[in-house]
């Protein structure tokens, strides 16, 4: 298993601004994932971040809106750019246990855009 921390845990932001969410893992991992979740609902994968290469975005998500950095094997950031109220959600990062698909999640960042 892996221990994952996220910062901030929550934030309230004004529309038009940007927020960068940090994700730190206690061990080196190849792949990190960023998800979005409405409270009480399922997860939607935003992108997969591999160290040393550009993130791979899922359909409906673009780099200009959700730029991702992956500077090393234990850290990643997701920026939510030019926010609107529709971006209000919980953002989660996760890592995968090698080859199994099993995910270990951070506690999430609850974002509210006013």
């Amino acid at each position: 298993s892996a221990v994952i921390s996220q910062k901030p845990s929550r934030d309230i932001c004004q529309r038009g601004t940007s927020l960068t969410i940090q994700c730190q893992v206690d061990s080196q991992v190849t792949m990190m994932f960023w998800y979005r979740q409405q409270p009480g609902q399922s997860l939607t994968l935003i992108a997969t971040a591999n160290q040393g290469s550009e993130a791979t975005y899922e359909s409906g998500f673009v780099i200009d809106k959700f730029p991702i950095s992956r500077p090393n094997l234990t850290f990643s950031t997701l920026t939510v750019s030019n926010m609107s109220p529709e971006d209000s959600s919980i953002y989660l990062c996760s890592v995968e246990a090698q080859g199994t698909g099993e995910q270990y999640f951070g506690p999430g960042t609850r974002l509210t855009v006013t």
Binding site: T100, G101, E102, Q103, F105, P107, G108, R110
Partner: protein, 113 residues
Amino acid sequence: TQLLEQSPQFLSIQEGENLTVYCNSSSVFSSLQWYRQEPGEGPVLLVTVVTGGEVKKLKRLTFQFGDARKDSSLHITAAQPGDTGLYLCAGFSNAGNNRKLIWGLGTSLAVNP
């Protein structure tokens, strides 16, 4: 497109009752995972089932993988308030170069004391 249908979507029961959550698909998965998420936390992996027909038990929770590896169920015996949370199934497809984790829509369970 691979889909995982999860039912029921919401469930509110009294402490001590039994319940079953279902996760169904028309697609075959290499494995299927069950997670539980409590408010303010990320999902936590409960179990992974790999073999068709496999049954795994975790205290009062029993997980079963369908023979054809297209569906799964989670049965909770004598539910307790601590079982309250969002239960998510996720099917892992590892066919060739196309690795993908497909998430169910979730079952929100409330166990009332």
